[in-house]
């Protein structure tokens, strides 16, 4: 029986109370922001109000903007690089992680490099990468692939190694072939850690992509536009894009988290137990 925690008492609070306070807090911030902007105390160039941003949003979407469909175009380009790169990362990193977990020699060969890669912030390598892949989509794409792969390999590797050996023993007492062991034990047992890895990989990839776009993209993208806008002092675009980037990042993270939680709840996470 766990000792009573200070948080337990608070857990008896009605959850909707938190929601109300939260909503009120957000509204208060928005009102304060709008008031500051409207009052003229700070120039509307430096700090546009939320209403100004809504106006900017209307301007940036649709045919009327310059270039046309500016916001949509940027979102699509960034997402295309993200999803494309992530897809490649998954196809490459998941098998690698599983193979490394099942083969000690491979693990000794691969995992040290993974550890080193984990310690290097992606943007530090971008200048070098740009020498090889130039300043276009290829660099963005490569950055996504590498930054997403590293956590995925680690999580998949850990996920497989954490499977209590008794699951393998049980399966092996049933005429289970290697193929079946993989399909029916390893894959479901690692579903939750793998999804965690995807979430982490996506998080790193998203941040690194935005940053890389600011240095490279020839043809637009959220990171590219926001830094371009800062050079032209186009503050409305800067703020608008900040909000868009945050919201988009939030949506992506929530989607991955939901998938992970649903799987964990339904299947229960495998107890790691002593091996």
């Amino acid at each position: 029986m766990a000792a009573a925690r200070a948080g337990d008492v608070r857990a008896r609070r009605v959850p909707s109370r938190n929601a109300v306070i939260g909503a009120a807090s957000i509204c208060a911030c928005l009102l304060l922001w709008q008031a500051l902007a409207a009052s003229g105390a700070i120039s509307s160039v430096v700090l546009p109000g939320p209403l100004d941003l809504v106006g900017q949003f209307h301007y940036a979407v649709g045919r009327g903007s310059n270039p046309p469909y500016q916001l949509e175009g940027d979102i699509l380009r960034t997402l295309a690089r993200l999803i494309g790169g992530f897809g490649v990362a998954v196809l490459f990193a998941v098998p690698l992680g599983i193979a490394a977990a099942l083969s000690r020699p491979l693990a000794l060969l691969v995992m040290p490099f993974v550890s080193v890669l984990m310690a290097i912030p992606a943007l530090a390598v971008v200048p070098i990468l740009m020498l090889v892949t130039g300043i276009g989509d290829a660099t963005d794409f490569t950055v996504v692939v590498v930054t997403a792969s590293v956590p995925i390999v680690v999580y998949v590797y850990d996920g497989v190694r954490m499977i209590d050996r008794k699951y393998f023993w049980t399966a092996s007492s049933f005429a289970t072939s290697r193929m079946d062991l993989f399909r029916h034990v390893i894959v479901p047992a690692t579903a939750v850690p793998v999804l965690s890895g995807f979430r982490m990989g996506m998080g790193y990839a998203w941040r690194s992509l935005i940053a890389t776009e600011s240095l490279t993209a020839l043809t637009g993208g959220l990171g590219y536009t926001i830094f371009q806008a800062s050079q032209f002092f186009d503050t409305r675009t800067i703020y608008l894009y900040m909000v868009v980037i945050a919201l988009l990042g939030f949506a992506i993270e929530s989607a991955f988290r939901a998938a992970e939680t649903k799987t964990a709840v339904r299947w229960g996470t495998l107890s790691s137990g002593k091996r």
Binding site: K166, W169, S172, F174, A175, V185, P188, R266, G268
Partner: protein, 277 residues
Amino acid sequence: MTSANAAPAARDDEGAMTGGASSAPVIQALNLSKVYPGRDGHAPVTAIEDVSFDVRPRKFTVFLGPSGCGKSTTLHMIGGFEQPTGGSLLLKGEPIRGPGPDRGIVFQDFVLFPWRTVLANIAFGLEMLKRFDRAEIKARAERYVEHLGLAGFANAYPATLSGGMKQRVAIARTLATQPEFILMDEPFASLDAQTRDRLIVDLSAIASENDTTFLFVTHDVREAIRLADRIVVFSPRPARIVEFLDITLPRPRDAYGPGVLEVERYLRSLIGKSAES
């Protein structure tokens, strides 16, 4: 109060057969030992040392001994999950090379696949056999659901079950493929007393209905007496065999039935003595 027709237990110091018809031993261990190599500077650990025993077919054999004495290790070696470091372990005359569908296993912590329903867990072994079609597998699995008292839970996930239910599923899963041997590693140790009692009764019934050879590990003396045809008594680590005891009490054996207390008293004194030495 012992019944007039049979002594409750026959002592057997050599592990060989005493009286009775039965057939040749189907598992033979001779001078078995298991040493775990030292890690990170620790000394090597000797789990069992010079252990010899026979297991007769279709009988319920119990390995009894204090916790951590190496009886589980012995069971694992019979299952083929671990290898002996000394001596020989023969299954029908052949050394044990690895796990196989002839030896099913039930663990203390159930080891049910959390991503499969109760029915799917039970069906696991049947699926792996690749011998039956879907309908047949389902039918067989459902039969075991009924038989093990799991009616109504066929589509539940293990996370929603109590410990006793989980262990029933584990037993059903192992039974479903009708293996020649069923190994059980302290299966009831993490269950409460009432659940354990019910499961002992049910397991006894299952054992008498089936031709399976059961190998059961426990540290609970009464449990051993109620289930076993034969008890192999282990000493504390490094384990050796202290004694072999054939139990011929009539079944079903109630926890406080005739003869059980006597045997229990004897065994306790035995274990106590071996702990001191």
